[in-house]
């Protein structure tokens, strides 16, 4: 077992180094920071209706999405952004993490080494489990800074903590939905199939939400948790979490199985 542990540690060390050196890490993090900035702009507009009116269309849109300029609205927008945008941005990270081995043709250097293949796949999933919450946390912290800068009314430490908890829960759900993305990046040996999958699920989630089936459609569940359709009257059922967990398990097992068994004739 020591050998296996060592193999896993080696694989994890390698994944961290690759992620640290990659511009993808920086770019996705920076790119997603647009979220707290946009929310901050909405807050500025909502705070000053006079200025908002003079800005025409933008203020009308801001009214539509946000409502009032206060902390719960601002933080709620961040959570909503992660629950929907995360399905794409976090899928990009996942697609890169798994697909890059095929695009850079480095996969062949990972297959015939003493470190078992499952350890390499597990290390990637573990890295992702740390990377995605880190980005969410960054969005949240920057959101707090921007909120303070804009001087949004209605601060309450309790609301901030509960929003943070919600953000992490949403991130965990989005993370669990990333395992099929990893699978498609591996089987598709690149970036396009997983991203195609991510956009498809995002669109289907919108449709499922609109039809009222969101609670049973895994990719709509994070958005439901972020109360994107207004505050829930009842807490979400365990079944909703169950379907997300089921997707996670299926995706992980399929990815592991593919790495263990599939012919690696290319790359």
């Amino acid at each position: 077992m020591t050998g296996y542990r060592l193999g896993f540690q080696s694989a994890l060390w390698a994944e961290f180094l690759k992620a640290r050196r990659s511009t993808v890490t920086l770019l996705t993090g920076l790119g997603f920071l647009i979220l707290p900035v946009v929310s901050g702009v909405f807050m500025i507009i909502l705070k000053d209706p006079e200025a908002a009116r003079s800005m025409g269309l933008i203020s009308a849109k801001a009214q539509l999405v946000a409502g009032v300029a206060d902390w719960p609205t601002h933080l709620g927008m961040l959570n909503m952004g992660v629950s929907i945008g995360g399905l794409v941005v976090y899928a990009m990270i996942t697609a890169w993490l798994f697909g890059r081995e095929f695009v850079d043709r480095t996969v062949k250097e990972l297959l015939a080494v003493p470190t078992p293949r499952w350890a390499i796949v597990a290390a990637k999933f573990l890295l992702l489990a740390l990377w995605l919450p880190a980005i969410s946390l960054l969005i949240f912290v920057v959101g707090l800074g921007i909120g303070a800068l804009v001087d949004i009314p209605g601060w309450s430490a309790g609301a901030v903590w509960s929003s943070l908890g919600e953000m992490m829960a949403i991130t965990l759900l989005v993370y669990m939905l990333m395992s099929p993305v990893a699978y498609f990046a591996s089987v598709g040996r690149g970036y396009l199939p997983p991203l195609g999958w991510a956009f498809l699920t995002l669109v289907l989630a919108q449709i499922a939400g609109a039809l009222g089936w969101g609670e049973w459609f895994p990719w709509a569940v994070p958005a439901l948790l972020s109360q994107v359709n207004g505050p829930r009257l009842e807490p979400m059922g365990a079944g909703s979490y169950g379907v997300v967990a089921l997707v996670f398990v299926i995706g992980v097992v399929a990815t592991l199985r593919w790495w263990q068994r599939a012919d690696q004739a290319g790359g």
Binding site: L17, E109, A112, V113, P114, T115, A265
Partner: protein, 303 residues
């Protein structure tokens, strides 16, 4: 002593295409086995199967006495490999790429990465990003990775590809040193015949997925065709003189070729014959078919 590599009836299909067809071969320990074939002949498929990257449709593959199983099981800590063009993480330096390999190989000695960088002449590029390396240096990086864990068996796909002539010689010497001094077995594919010719102790020729010939480098010496090449100022006159003496000669632009054993064994007599016949030779040489000619002859000259 068990074989370092044992391939028994290996067959692999890609859809309707049979890439490798019932290939069986053995490589003894300490041997340098040259695996020759044109592009698409089945070399890389065979190598990937040896490394457990591809599952055979039929047949079995053993490496260092261990059956290469599904899920990538195999004695990989004792095998160094380089499959097709070596790949590296472009944003990582040479050192970092090798550090990843060192850890995945389970090599505990930290200094080993520096050693292998030096061994392959990569010291000036130690901190250069792999994406900015020349093809030759990327090849060296691939070889460094293959040698990092001091393997007993090296499985190399076209190891000299992309190297300049000096680099080719350097790698040849390195492989010779590894086999001579450390008893490393080398299984290398190539389409550069001179490379295999000089290095390999045994050669297998694969063509359209079939292993069509397997020979020792010593055997090659005996089965290669020899011929006598003759040039004179008047090729037609020389050909007439030779034919009158009962020696068949084939003319090829400026040269006559004689394959008759008698002529090849006694070029001096051929010279006298030509001088006496008034067609004195300006050039006379016994030429031995090289591996390339032999290869083209037995594969039907297809390129």
């Amino acid at each position: 002593m068990p074989s370092a590599i044992e391939i028994d009836g290996l067959t692999k299909n890609y859809g309707p295409v049979r890439a490798v067809d019932s290939v069986s071969l053995q490589v003894g320990q300490g041997e340098i086995y040259g695996f020759l074939g044109l592009n698409g002949a089945g070399k890389t498929t065979t190598i990937r199967t040896l490394l457990g990257m591809i599952r055979p449709d039929a047949g079995a593959v053993s490496v260092l006495g261990q059956r290469v199983g599904p899920g990538g099981r195999g004695p990989w800590g004792r095998v160094g490999h380089m499959v097709e063009a070596p790949a590296a993480y472009p944003e990582l330096t040479v050192y970092e790429n090798l550090e990843i390999a060192r850890r995945l190989q389970g090599v505990r000695e930290r200094g080993r990465t520096g050693e292998v960088i030096e061994q392959l002449g990569l010291s000036p590029y130690r901190d250069r990003k792999a994406g900015k390396l020349s093809t030759g240096n990327r090849q060296r990086l691939g070889l460094a990775r293959a040698l990092l864990h001091r393997p007993e068996l090296l499985i190399l796909d076209e190891p000299s590809s992309g190297l300049d002539p000096a680099g080719v010689v350097e790698i040849r010497e390195l492989l010779e040193t590894l086999t001579d001094q450390m008893g490393v077995t080398v299984f290398m594919s190539s389409h550069i015949l001179t490379e295999v010719d000089r290095l390999a102790s045994r050669v297998g020729i694969i063509h359209h997925g079939h292993l069509i010939e397997e020979l020792d480098s010593g055997a090659l010496e005996t089965i290669r065709e020899r011929r006598l090449a003759v040039r004179t100022r008047d090729l037609d006159a020389a050909q007439r003189v030779l034919e009158e003496a009962g020696l068949a000669a084939k003319a090829n632009e400026r040269t006559l070729y004689l394959q008759d054993g008698q002529a090849v064994d006694a070029p001096d007599e051929v010279a006298s014959l030509l001088v006496n016949g008034g067609a004195a030779p300006t050039y006379l040489a016994v030429e031995q078919e090289n591996l390339e000619d032999y290869f083209l002859r037995i594969t039907g000259g297809e390129r």
